[in-house]
């Protein structure tokens, strides 16, 4: 099982009834796996804050519940998260944060363990799939016993790693029902002051429990080196220093500091090996325990057996290993938009309009790369519209200001930005790239797609009606496969004073259904090798070895991947690109 499937399994076994999430790598598969179990209401929410609100509400209603998100999702949900810690729970409440050290698919690599310390909630860190199952299950028990939400933090390697698990049966949690308790659930200052004390008291109780040895595993070693670690680095340490003493912490907030002190006393040198920030190391230092850590192990990126080995080598514990031969030079291979992606052509037009483009997060962020190179900023989900308003307000943009945002992102947190644009009558164009899915994370439904997680029909948000209700006067829906319509639509929108919205209306070519229309091909002797079409960055357009004029390379189309979107054919000044079947026609 993958770590994500194991989290789902653990939650199922614990009797989880309601699970809400907004997709985000590497957390997405948790909900998808939970949806396959009976008696679990698994649902996508429009964003992480709503997901956590839903889970908290379900918990107060007495159901064991879970909210899952990627690390940056917890920023969005943080407002609820911080105060949920005061409120406590009804049924057990577990929040999953899937961190992404190394930024495989993220805009930052923040270490969300600090959120647990900040909010004062218990923090669990699984190291592999079986750990993930076991600890998720345990998280619900802790949550109910100590009346607190629990944060379970995985990382990409745990979430997307696979290892053996020992599944157990589901135990149905007793239905408690909603217990009215305003002193606990209504966070007026007077109530919150009391709950804050309760929070500190329960953390101390949990620490005492942790000191007794639950959630710690000690591997005996000789007296030279002891290592304190948690999460997946535990396996790297075991691999690299099989003879060292290791204290593996599954619960890292609150820390069983006396337990660690006793462990530390056995060794000449004490190390802390952890990914990203010196979370444990600093806590040890604050308790007067001198441990070596970030002096040898990097604070950025993922650890690996190799990196851990190099760290211990620098610390003088291991001979510096032979550096393996460098990989031979080869071509870089960044991700690209798919053949026929409806996001490509709009960016080609934006580039021609010399627009200053405030981008957002989704597949279309790839348009920031050459050769489209038509996105100028990308910070956080939903930020594009507000940023565009600011760019326009600065007076220094030097071109029409356009915000580009996907449908899922718009509904996640773009709507308020558009409200601001209308409220301030900003001179911006908002291009909503509506491909009818959350493509970047693998094609999940959202409130605009007309279906729920399990595919059952739901009412769909009407984007045009939504924009109109916010007060946008000019709204145009255009076909992103029609270069002429795109140009005219975007020219009209950018020429206008005040906010205008342009919405594209072609579905993603990969999800929910794979779209494969009639492919195109290049008539070899018509191609003048100008390579205008290559500006689209369509992966189906390739170079041939055939040349024209000064040995410039002509272009060909890989008919097995071309989706027949027609955009390159519209671009070609030589009329060389035609539907496959028409070859030979006059």
């Amino acid at each position: 099982m993958s770590g994500n499937e194991a989290v789902a399994r653990g939650a199922y076994e614990a009797g989880v009834r309601v699970a809400a999430a907004y997709p985000g790598t590497p957390s997405t598969e948790i909900l998808e796996a939970l949806a396959t179990y009976p008696s679990v209401d698994a649902r996508w929410s429009p964003n992480e804050k709503v997901a956590l609100d839903v889970a908290l509400g379900a918990s107060l209603g007495g159901a064991r519940s879970l909210a899952a998100m990627k690390h940056v999702g917890l920023n969005v949900a943080a407002d609820t998260f911080m105060t949920a810690a005061y409120v406590g729970v009804g049924g057990g409440l577990v929040v999953i944060s899937a961190d992404d050290p190394g930024m495989h698919s993220s805009q930052n690599e923040q270490d969300n363990r600090f959120f647990a310390r900040l909010a004062g909630v218990p923090l669990l860190e699984p190291a592999d799939s079986e750990d993930a199952r076991r600890l998720t299950r345990a998280a619900f028990e802790i949550s109910e016993e100590f009346d607190t939400p629990v944060l379970l933090r995985t990382t990409t390697r745990v979430a997307h790693g696979r290892s053996l698990v020992q599944p157990a049966e589901r135990t149905e949690a007793p239905a408690r029902g909603f217990q009215r308790d305003r002193a606990k659930y209504v966070m007026l200052p007077a109530n919150a002051r009391r709950r804050r004390l309760a929070l500190l008291e329960r953390l101390e109780r949990l620490r005492v429990r942790a000191e007794e040895g639950a959630f710690t595993t000690e591997i005996e070693g000789d007296s030279t080196v002891g290592v304190v670690t948690s999460g997946i680095p535990y396996h790297y340490v075991r691999e690299v220093l099989p003879d060292a003493g290791v204290l593996r912490l599954a619960l890292t907030n609150p820390l069983p500091i006396e337990r660690i002190r006793a462990f530390a006393a056995k060794f000449e040198r004490l190390f802390v090996v952890e990914e990203l920030e010196p979370f444990l190391e600093d806590a040890l230092a604050a308790a007067g325990l001198r441990a070596e850590g970030k002096a040898f192990f990097p604070r950025t990126g993922e650890l690996s057996p190799d990196v851990v080995r190099q760290g211990f080598a620098r610390a003088g514990l291991l001979a510096a290993g032979t550096v393996p031969a460098a990989a031979p030079a080869t071509t870089p291979r960044p991700p690209v938009l798919c053949p026929g992606c409806p996001h490509s052509a709009p960016f080609l037009v934006l580039r021609r309009l010399n627009a200053v483009v405030a981008g957002d997060i989704g597949c279309y962020t790839l348009a920031a790369l050459e050769p489209l190179a038509a996105m100028d900023t990308c910070i956080a989900m939903g930020s594009s519209i507000g940023m565009a308003v600011g760019l326009a307000a600065s007076g220094g943009a030097g071109g029409p200001v356009v915000a580009t945002i996907g449908d899922s992102t718009f509904l996640h947190s773009g709507v308020q930005g558009l409200m601001e644009a209308v409220y301030s009558q900003a001179d911006i164009t908002v291009l909503i790239l509506d491909n009818g899915t959350t493509a970047m994370t693998g094609g999940q439904h959202h409130p605009g797609t007309g279906a729920a997680l399990d595919g059952s029909p739901r009412p769909a948000v009407d984007l045009v009606g939504l924009c109109r209700s916010l007060g946008v006067e000019q709204i145009e829906v255009v076909d992103p496969y029609d270069m002429g319509a795109l140009e005219r639509g975007l020219e009209r929108a950018t020429a206008r004073r005040g906010p205008a919205v342009v919405i594209t209306n072609r579905p993603c070519v990969e999800a929910p259904v794979k779209i494969r229309d009639h492919p195109f091909e290049v008539i070899d002797d018509r191609c003048i090798a100008c390579q205008l079409c290559m500006n689209l960055d369509c992966p189906s357009l390739l170079w041939t070895d055939a040349t024209w004029h000064e040995d410039r390379r002509r272009v060909e189309i890989d008919g097995s991947t071309c989706t027949g979107c027609t955009v390159c054919a519209q671009l070609c000044p030589a009329g060389a690109i035609v539907p496959l079947a028409m070859v030979g026609a006059p």
Partner: protein, 276 residues
Amino acid sequence: MIAATRGVLLAGVGGQGVILASHIAAEALLRCGFDVKQSEVHGMSQRGGVVTSHLRFGGQVASPLIAPGEADLVIAFEWAEALRWSSHRRPEGKLVSDRRRILPPVACLDRRGWASAYPADASALGDALVVDATAIAREAGNEKAAGSVLLGIASALLELPEQPWQESIVATVPTKTRAANLAAFAAGRTLHFPAAELAAPAPPSPPLVRHRLEIETAWCKSCDICVRLCPERCLTLDAALKAKVVDPDACTGCRLCEMLCPDFAITVVSEEVAVA
């Protein structure tokens, strides 16, 4: 005695089925009685980027990750990826690669020198086993089963029995492609090496010419056609709305502007550059 831990690295391009193949392999290794850990990275990389999956198996496995220089076997689904990951092998480790070439769009971008960054030189691969797995899979009934051909070869190289692999294929792949995958696996398993020569065709060498635009400003009527259609975006209209070159170095000399200008205001002059 606990069996030593071995590592297999699978690498390819997003959409090639690397992850599916690694799931088949992991399941097969479990059925062989090993402890197995697997680590893959997907997300952004699924969009035509690099996809890798680490598999470690043995009596008891700690880390799921294979350090550079420690893979017993690298399975590459694509030629450039074979090169990229070849140094993950142990000195005595093996490398199997499909001969398939997937040229990433970025490698086509240097239109000026249009030297492709795609590797042509095979010497770095040493004793790699290179096969046309895609062709073999096509013969077996489905081009997309190339991964199973590679797994067939891998199972033989790892000296593991074939039955657990077949069971795993049956359990893992959709019913529709089961027969093709089993046939592809069998073809890989029984393949005899050396199968083929290694080298990819050498790319033609780039011409050494420099291009310069001569613009007859008086004839330019500000129609903007050249600005909009220059593939390299070298042109703009100046304050007087006349065509002007802004990025002379980017010009590839495609002559599109010269051909498209309705008033013949642009001439592209190409000059040979002396080789230093």
